[in-house]
């Protein structure tokens, strides 16, 4: 494929950014959820 | 009751500076707040002035519920904190008349306020930057007189004043009380303060107790 670097690069940037954002969100959720009771988690 | 706090918690940057404070102040009282540094005296005064949101409990000041209308109370109280709220590059007279214009007081009021605080003609034309700490404090108190606040909240008003200034301050506070103002002040100088106060309260660990 012509210009494969640019094309794959843009896919990697996109998916990588989403992944990093998702993981960091779940991490911080895990960290602060330990002290929170289930009643306060209104979405459960 | 002028001030009525019930189990009030005030949080600042995740720290409960007031941790369930309850007390009342009646009209015409001069109430002394005493306690160690960091006990919550300054926070208590700022909360009374409607500057800080109440996290828990109920607080009423001059008939305003601070949980609902903490802005309404502000025009009725005068707060003098660690800072004087003065403009360094303006003269004493200019500082005081700036406040008098904001609330629509007359030039006569400005004159009277400066006389009460002993800010003579020579001092009144001096820039605040060139004043001593005590003179600045007197100038700041004069702005409170001009604003005719119904509740005076003073944080360490005696600090930095010479003994003549302190006597004058005490006299001012007593005459303000006779004129109908209620005073709540924090002080470290227990002897002088207790002499002035009609009642004193202990503030320790963010809680208020009668002494």
């Amino acid at each position: 494929m012509k210009d494969a670097g640019f094309i794959f690069g843009s896919y990697i940037v996109t998916l990588g950014a989403i992944l990093i954002f998702a993981v960091s969100t779940l991490r911080s959720a895990q960290k602060s959820s330990q002290s929170v009771t289930d009643e306060d988690k209104t979405w459960l | 009751m002028i001030v009525s706090f019930s189990d009030v918690v005030v949080v600042y940057d995740n720290f409960p500076a007031l941790a369930g404070a309850s007390f009342e102040v009646a009209s015409g009282e001069i109430v002394l707040l005493q306690g160690p540094n960091g006990a919550g005296k300054t926070t208590l005064l700022r909360a009374c002035a409607g500057l800080l949101p109440i996290a828990r409990g109920t607080a009423t000041v001059l008939g305003c519920d601070l949980g609902v209308e903490r802005y309404a109370v502000r025009a009725k109280v005068g707060l003098l904190g660690h800072t004087n709220g003065l403009f360094q590059d303006l003269t004493v007279a200019e500082n005081i008349s700036f406040w008098s214009r904001l609330i629509g007081a007359s030039d006569q009021d400005v004159e009277t306020a400066m006389q009460i605080m002993g800010l003579s003609d020579r001092l009144s034309a001096t820039r605040v930057a060139n004043l001593s700490a005590g003179q600045r404090r007197r100038c700041a108190l004069a702005t409170l007189i001009v604003r005719r606040a119904q509740l005076w909240l003073l944080d360490e008003p005696h600090a930095g004043l010479d003994s003549q200034g302190r006597d004058e301050l005490d006299k001012t506070l007593r005459s303000a009380r006779e004129a109908g103002a209620t005073v709540v002040f924090a002080s470290h100088e227990i002897d002088r303060a207790q002499n002035l106060a009609t009642r004193s309260l202990n503030v320790v660990g963010g809680v208020v107790t009668e002494s």
Binding site: - | T83, D89, R127
Partner: protein, 235 residues
């Protein structure tokens, strides 16, 4: 607002009191005349060094005037709120229950007057340093442009200056918030000024299209600012 003696304090009186206070402090401390003006003048000279070409300088003179104005805007705005936060006077204004939208207009007008003084010097500098020609019709356009652009800059400057007053890291936060907002002013004022200078053969009439945008900007942020200022500076 009614005080005890029953006299009414009109909004205009509060605006005037705040305005006169800010101007008087500037007259005494001379921060704008002694520090900001030389700074802005230096920026103009530095542009001349960097671009080093009379034709280019003439062509971009309008942009350079407004860039120098923007850089100075940050300094003047920070200074304008530093005088209020230095000894807790802003706290006292909040406690006193003063109409904060009146404070907004008072401070904005004071800021606008300082900016106009600065811009006059910068434009004179451009005429002298960059050898710009100014016709009579160009002058009319230029004056209108300065008035409209300055009121817009003064409104947003006061608004975001109040938001960042006393905040940690305000030196960097203020430009971050202000720069994207003032982009339309930079674009419009630059084009109008270029038209007034006749840079690159621009006609004076082209410039008037931009005055409309500047007016809309000033109106939007004048109204928005007077509504938002109180809740931005409050605790």
């Amino acid at each position: 607002m009614k005080n005890k003696s029953g006299t009414r304090v009109t909004k205009g009186k509060v605006v005037t009191a705040v305005l006169l206070k800010d101007l008087r402090i500037e007259m005494r401390s001379r921060v704008v005349t002694n520090q900001v003006l030389p700074f802005a003048g230096l920026v103009m000279v530095m542009f001349a060094f960097a671009l080093d070409n009379d034709d280019v300088l003439q062509r971009v003179a309008g942009g350079l005037v407004w860039l120098a104005t923007l850089f100075s805007l940050f300094i003047i705005v920070q200074r304008s709120f530093a005088i209020d936060t230095a000894d807790g006077a802003l706290d006292s204004l909040r406690v006193a229950g003063i109409d904060l939208s009146a404070v907004f207009f008072g401070k904005a007008i004071a800021l606008a007057l300082k900016l106009v003084a600065l811009e006059i010097v910068l434009i004179c500098g451009a005429v002298l340093l960059y050898r710009v020609d100014l016709s009579a019709s160009g002058l009319v356009l230029l004056v209108t442009c300065v008035l409209c652009a300055t009121s817009g800059l003064a409104f947003v400057g006061t608004l975001y200056g109040g938001l960042t007053a006393g905040a940690k890291g305000r030196e960097t936060l203020l430009p971050l918030l202000l720069l994207p907002v003032v982009a339309p002013v930079l674009i419009a004022a630059t084009r109008a000024t270029e038209a007034a200078f006749g840079s690159g053969g621009a006609q004076t009439s082209e410039g008037w299209a931009w005055i409309g945008l500047l007016t809309v900007f000033a109106a939007v942020f004048g109204v928005g600012g007077s509504l938002a200022f109180g809740s931005l500076i409050d605790e």
